[in-house]
């Protein structure tokens, strides 16, 4: 019998990307289902790096926690301590002087500059453009130096304290930081040109990972991811610390693709450089920026506070509840990557497997700061948080 029909069975392939180094050094696994080269479904699996920080914070005193929440994220440590410190200040009814507020803004904006530079460098590396990666990282080191001058460490600033900041800025250091920023700006502009004009970058980023404004609001995406899709949200608009006094523009682009998100970050870097310059030139001297830590109150009133800051990756929120004892009763942290990564599975569909790392990198994931353990009781449809100790014993 001659063959007159061939039956083709469509095979969908499951490709695990991660959890070791999916695109950048973050422990996240994307379970990609592909038909041929085309991605048809993506599951975002997390939970490889749960550290139980929220529980740890409940076991430590209010002041010790400032340093513990700084360790939630390595890159954006000052925004974490800022959100927490402002929440504690609200509970205690303390208002820091203007100089301290300006210095906080300076530290946070320096952090934004180096965070945006590192993700753009990593994007260059993911695209295979290692030369550009090296150049951006070289110039990022200048910002790290500025941060070291200001806070005393290039990465972990530990710069904030209830009622102010932990070290003041001298005239000499002020000039040195300004010098760093003046030298940095032309370099950043050069990289913007490379990202705009380079053919390889354009081909790999433009039109890849399109997120429509409707998807942004539907999935609750925040930060440069939302602003790259034309959604104008920025927590800095609230005017916390000195953001109400420092002029800045909110960068919004409407290309909606990975390239657009990276360009939002580059232009925000320029904005941040200008904000830092403004802060350095208009630093008020209305009071001691550094509180005497030995004299801070030891009693904490009953109360609760909810604060939000614009971290480099988007809106970060803290909820702090005090029941009048030495330790907070509850601290709830919601990091921007929690929204941006877990909800982003939809945006990979229709692109090729080679585009997956690019799209993931364009969301600037920070997995370590978003890991949570939630147990969902399927029978009753309840969700509850458990401690790791109890997890070992097994769930009831």
């Amino acid at each position: 019998m001659a063959v007159d029909k061939v039956i083709e069975i469509p095979v969908s392939l499951e490709v695990p990307i991660g959890p070791q180094h999916p695109a950048l050094h973050e422990p996240v696994m994307l379970k990609v289902y592909a038909e041929g080269e085309e991605v048809v479904k993506v599951e975002v699996n997390t939970g490889y790096n749960h550290r139980g920080i929220e529980k740890l914070v409940e076991k430590n005193s209010f002041y010790r926690n400032i340093f513990i929440v700084s360790r939630v994220c390595g890159i954006c440590n000052i925004v974490h301590s800022n959100a927490y410190v402002r929440a504690v200040e609200q509970v205690m009814g303390i208002e820091p002087p203007g100089r301290a507020k300006y210095l906080r803004v300076l530290a946070m904006e320096l952090e934004r500059i180096h965070s945006h530079m590192i993700i753009n460098a990593i994007m260059a590396e993911v695209l295979g453009y290692d030369t550009l990666f090296m150049y951006i990282m070289r110039d990022r080191e200048k910002v790290m130096k500025a941060k070291e001058i200001l806070t005393g460490n290039r990465v972990l600033g530990d710069y904030l304290m209830v009622g102010g900041v932990r070290r003041d800025l001298s005239e000499v250091d002020r000039e040195r930081i300004k010098d760093v920023l003046i030298k940095l700006e032309p370099e950043v502009r050069k990289y913007i040109r490379v990202f705009e004009e380079d053919e390889t970058i354009g081909k790999r980023l433009r039109g890849v990972g399109v997120v429509k404004p409707k998807d942004v609001t539907l999935h609750g995406l925040v930060g440069p991811t939302a602003r790259g899709s034309g959604v104008n949200i920025d927590a800095r608009r609230e005017g916390y610390d000195a953001y109400g006094e420092v002029p800045f523009n909110i960068i919004v682009r409407s290309d909606m693709d990975s390239w657009s998100r990276m360009m939002v970050r580059w232009h925000e870097t320029i904005e941040s450089i200008n904000m830092c310059k403004y802060v350095l030139e208009n630093l008020p001297s209305d009071g001691p920026a550094v509180p005497d830590e030995t004299k801070l109150p030891r009693k904490f009133p009953v109360g609760e506070a909810f604060t939000r800051v614009e971290a480099p990756r988007g809106e970060l929120t803290y909820y702090v509840m005090s029941d009048g004892r030495q330790n907070p009763w509850r601290v709830k942290i919601r990091t921007p990557s929690f929204n941006n990564i877990i909800n982003s599975g939809f945006s990979y569909i229709g692109y090729t497997i080679a585009d997956v790392p690019v799209i993931l990198t364009s969301y600037d994931p920070c997995i370590s700061c978003m890991e949570r353990a939630i147990v969902t009781d399927l029978r009753r449809g309840e969700k509850k948080y458990v401690r790791f100790k109890d997890l070992n014993r097994g769930l009831k």
Binding site: N65, L132, E148, T294
Partner: protein
């Protein structure tokens, strides 16, 4: 789309000095106020244990002073010993000490098995400890 101007930069750095620092043959430039190795000056410390209570990393343990060491004002004869492996260099202990007893340095070279604790540094401040 035109070609980027990165080529010029690449050529420039072919002949320029490398940016990379050849550590440990070359010193990394470090700020004077960098938060590095620190230890308690036993001339000032009163053994109040506040630093050990406030340390967020639980890196400080209060230890008994050796018999032969004489200290000016420490009735309980205990002093803080920092484990540099545990310490996160936040300097909370430095700022919270009511007697300003901590000596701070910008020494960042703390890896290696020798001197993992601040014991000898502190004892040397009153003429004791291993040299």
């Amino acid at each position: 789309m035109g070609k980027p101007s990165l080529l010029k930069e690449v050529l420039k750095w072919f002949i320029g000095r490398p940016v990379t620092i050849q550590y440990p043959y070359e010193e990394t430039p470090i700020e004077n106020r960098f938060r590095g190795r620190h230890f308690a000056d036993l001339n000032k410390c009163t053994g109040c244990s506040l630093c050990a209570i406030e340390c967020p990393a639980d890196a400080i343990t209060m230890e008994k002073l050796p018999e032969e060491v004489s200290v000016p004002k420490n009735p309980r004869r205990i002093y803080p010993v920092i484990s540099y492996g545990k310490c996160v260099y936040c300097y909370r202990c430095v700022t919270v000490c009511p007697f300003d007893a901590y000596i701070t340095t910008n020494d960042y070279k703390i890896t290696g098995p020798a001197r993992l604790y601040s014991r000898d540094y502190s004892l040397q401040s009153v003429g004791g400890g291993a040299q």
